[in-house]
């Protein structure tokens, strides 16, 4: 192998300069208050740009009703933005534009949210818009029908998207009877939901006792609280009941789940197992171990299967902290012929993390990475909103953000080993492959028994 140096002359230092002294991270001051109707409000001032971002969360998402009505929370959220008692759809969109605002209404597994961001000079109007959508959504038959058709077409596209098919299948095999198993409804289910079902979800769960309002941006905290009290203070509704979910299965041994996508020119490889929530005492240990394994560009898995072997463009691992039960997963989109080789390396790197302590240098790098990226997130509006949402939605300790960096710095190689042994469960991991059966079935069978599915999620073998 020939090495070519494309060099031009000039004197210069040949080693990287040392890091300078670290400047302390000043977390934007948070103010927390609960209104008399139970609405929890968290504010943080950030004066870098004349913008305000606000998110109103409800602690009920798709999982709240997934066993009876999958995806109902998501379609409800979609329809929420299409009209209120006083504002038809077109008026909402025009009002938003007049305030320089973007609006999103979505539901995930654990929460539903109305998110708005716009110019600070319109902060009062932005809050009124959020309150109007939270309290007065009209669910007209016409809007429901239009959004229903949109949703069905979106689902059809998702069912041709390898990334979607892979995560859908992994969630199903990891969570079994638990509502987290279902990430999307079927076309038939979307076709069957009535406007009364949507309105009922809204009435039950879009209530102040179930809500958290976050606002971050260029405002004065005192004036903002007054505005919020004025807009949200008269809102009253009973607290919803929270239903208990069935336990997810305990998977023993590896199993391969192959989703057949005819004509695929690449294979989406996923490996996963159940893990923990953000409230678990092991959470920071797991995130640190994940960053060494495959959660950063400079991580073992990325170096191995991308930079050394060239199997894939964007391999990554992640710890996913759902509220009741988290999971750990690895994914990589690889050329068909290296599907088995990729799985071998994924398991090799998991087992190496489980058996040999990480080096002092790796540990130090990873701790710096975690604390540094955390600091970057303090410097943007979206970053601050996201971190506050993590803390207050999951009811983490109030000092979570302030103490995060020192807690990360205190972690040891033993902590990483403990986390890897507990949560990189290579012996019982579930394998999902999305690709063309003819190209990969033989490789799949090398790892465990194989169950095949079609793109609709229907089991087609055994």
């Amino acid at each position: 192998m020939s090495t070519k140096t494309l060099s031009v002359p000039g004197a210069r230092p040949t080693t990287a300069p040392a890091l300078g002294p670290e400047r302390p991270v000043a977390w934007p001051r948070q103010s927390v208050r609960t209104l008399s109707n139970g609405l929890q409000v968290v504010l943080a001032e950030l004066h870098t740009f004349p913008k305000v971002a606000a998110q109103l969360f409800f602690r009920s998402g798709n999982a709240a009703v997934a066993l009876a009505t999958p995806g109902l929370a998501e379609i409800t959220a979609t329809v929420v933005r299409t009209g209120t008692a006083s504002r038809p759809s077109r008026r909402i969109e025009e009002d938003l534009r007049r305030m320089g605002a973007d609006l999103g209404t979505h539901a995930g597994a654990d929460s539903s949210a109305i998110s708005i961001a716009g110019l600070a000079e319109f902060s009062g109007g932005l809050l009124e818009m959020v309150a109007d959508l939270a309290r007065n959504a009209s669910f007209t038959a016409e809007e429901v029908e239009r959004e229903r058709r949109q949703k069905i077409e979106e689902l059809r596209i998702e069912r041709t998207t390898p990334g979607f098919l892979g995560s859908e299948c992994l969630r199903r095999v990891l969570f079994g009877a638990h509502p987290y198993a279902i990430v999307a409804p079927t076309e038939e289910q979307v076709g069957g939901y009535t406007r009364e079902q949507l309105a009922d979800f809204y009435r039950r769960y879009y209530v102040p006792e179930n809500a958290l309002l976050l606002a971050v941006g260029d405002f004065k905290t005192g004036a903002m609280f007054e505005q919020i009290e004025k807009v949200f203070g008269s809102w009253r509704a009973p607290q919803p009941e929270v239903q208990k979910s069935p336990a997810p299965p305990k998977n023993i041994g590896r199993h391969v789940h192959l989703v057949h996508l005819p004509g695929a020119v690449q294979t989406q490889v996923l490996v996963g197992n159940l893990a923990i929530t953000r409230r678990d005492p092991d959470w920071l240990r797991l995130t640190l171990a994940n960053s060494i394994y495959g959660g950063a560009f400079h991580s073992r898995l990325v170096i191995n299967i991308r930079e050394q072997k060239g199997y894939t463009y964007s391999p990554r691992s992640g710890a996913h902290p759902l509220r009741q039960q988290g999971y750990f997963s690895v994914h990589a989109a690889v050329r068909n012929e290296v599907t088995a080789a990729t799985l071998t390396e994924i398991f090799y790197e998991m087992d190496r993390m489980r058996s040999i302590p990480v080096t002092a240098e790796e540990l130090d790098s990873a701790r710096s990475y975690m604390t540094g990226v955390f600091s970057l997130g303090v410097a943007t509006l979206d970053g601050v909103v996201g971190q506050l949402a993590n803390v207050y939605l999951e009811r983490l300790p109030a000092d979570y953000l302030e103490t995060y960096r020192e807690k990360i710095r205190a972690l040891t190689a033993d902590d990483v080993l403990i986390a890897a042994r507990r949560y990189f469960d290579s012996a019982n991991a579930q394998i999902v492959l999305v690709g063309d059966r003819a190209q990969i079935a033989d490789q799949a069978a090398l790892f465990a028994e194989v169950t095949e599915y079609d793109a609709q999620g229907k089991q087609t073998s055994k």
């Binding site: 040949t14 740009f49 390898p162 060239g310 540094g372 509006l381």
Partner: protein, 434 residues
């Protein structure tokens, strides 16, 4: 109206490297970028996709930081990094805690000075790039729609009209010699701008820039290539097979007025009246009111191109409507802005939204952990293309001054059939997905 003022300081080193500093001490982080004025428009013929493949090679090792060292040094300093290839620029950027500023400058200078790569690195990144093309284009529904579909239909001059991600045969043909030639031709300090944003004093940043970059020799640049397009005389059309997705889609691109002209400002505001989410006329008419489309929106690469570019509308329509029916409904929207002025009570909110979007871009623009990426990006483009980073503080004026009459004139002049190209994505397998 509150007017934002961004602090910007600007200097040029003896070797021609332009350096821009924009301090902001509110958080202890810095974002650093090096932008080279070379993109996929000017990659060598027979080497489609090369500018992007080359961008990958810039992460494979430089004289004093071998393979993975660059990435290790940034990640272990608590930072994130990336690079992107665009039509007329290629950028490399990092966000790090501010105590790593000097280290980042050392790394960027090291790879501006001397790339150190071998055949094994090239083979490896060629494989990686092919998987990138598969995951983003060949194995995705609507992959490459319409950014790879439109240029070959819309344009006639190869720099504007080829496959920017690259044919696999061209990627396979790339050699280490090509890598060397490309580096020596375009990766010169006098063809680049260095940007520093965030937690540092400009004087200190300029001193560090001088220390690490100024002795990198300048070299002569090739004469500016001709990227102009021959005059278009009729509407152009193309069709691409959609292998996975179930819905028919179409993209309509109108070639935009030249950068910096009065028409450019007017056409940009016109674009925002037509597009820009659910309040734009295209989405409102096609999705919300006529309900022909499932999704319809569009955009123009206003700030970061320096050659022929298009305002593009993307429509995914219901299978029960034909291409012709959908296009007729779209054309009716275009006729609407040609025949009648957009009234001020519609155009004023469009401008408010334009200002808000501009601020959002400056503030972030690349996710929650890359502070001020957009500010860096715009400053780089104003420096490289217009010679003046201070334009960041005045550019809004031109857009906010556009009148209904000017927007209408731009619609009549530019939104005409002989200035447009249309590409249809036709699903081949829509039975299979249902």
């Amino acid at each position: 109206m509150e007017r934002l003022r961004i602090p910007v300081e600007y200097t040029t080193l003896a070797n021609g490297l332009r350096v821009v500093a924009s301090p902001d001490r509110s958080a202890p982080v810095v974002t650093v970028g090096v932008y080279y004025q070379i993109g996929f428009r000017l990659e060598p013929r027979g080497r489609s996709g090369f500018a992007h493949l080359f961008e990958h090679m810039m992460f494979q090792g430089s004289e004093n930081a071998g393979k993975m060292e660059h990435i290790r040094l940034i990640n272990s300093s608590g930072g994130l990094l990336n690079g992107t290839t665009n039509y007329d620029i290629t950028n490399y950027f990092e966000s790090v805690p501010s105590n790593a500023l000097e280290r980042v400058l050392w790394l960027e200078a090291d790879r501006m000075r001397a790339l150190k790569v071998d055949d094994e690195n090239l083979r490896n990144q060629r494989d990686v790039v092919k998987e990138e093309v598969r995951v983003n284009v060949l194995n995705q529904p609507y992959g490459g729609f319409p950014w790879l579909d439109l240029p070959p239909v819309a344009f006639r001059n190869w720099p504007n009209a080829h496959n920017f991600y690259g044919d696999f045969t061209d990627l396979d043909a790339a050699t280490l010699e090509d890598v060397g030639n490309f580096f020596h031709t375009y990766y010169a300090p006098n063809n680049a701008v260095l940007l520093m944003l965030g937690d540092f004093e400009p004087a200190e940043g300029f001193a560090l820039a001088k220390r690490y970059f100024e002795d990198i020799p300048a070299h002569p640049l090739p004469p500016r290539a001709n990227v102009s397009e021959p005059a278009q005389t009729e509407e152009r059309r193309g069709e691409v097979e959609e292998k996975f997705g179930p819905l028919p889609a179409m993209a309509i691109g109108y070639t935009a007025p030249p950068r910096g002209t009065d028409d450019w400002y007017a056409a940009t505001i016109l674009d925002r009246a037509l597009h820009g989410g659910r309040s734009g006329r295209v989405h409102r008419e096609l999705v919300l009111e006529k309900q022909i489309a499932v999704e319809a929106d569009g955009s123009a690469d206003t700030f970061d191109t320096n050659g022929p570019t298009q305002m593009v509308t993307r429509i995914f329509h219901k299978p029960e409507f034909t291409t012709d029916q959908t296009l007729a409904a779209f054309d009716e929207i275009i006729r609407g802005v040609q025949e009648n002025e957009i009234r001020e009570d519609e155009l004023d909110p469009v401008k408010v939204k334009f200002r808000a979007d501009f601020y959002s871009m400056l503030e972030g623009g690349m996710g929650a952990h890359m502070p001020r990426f957009g500010l860096m990006h715009y400053l780089a483009c104003f420096t490289l293309f217009d010679g003046d980073p201070q334009r960041i503080n005045t550019i809004l004026d031109g857009f906010l001054a556009v009148t209904p009459k000017q927007a209408q004139a731009a619609a009549r002049k530019y939104l005409v059939p002989k200035n447009r190209a249309i590409v249809v994505r036709r699903p081949v397998a829509h039975g299979a997905a249902r």
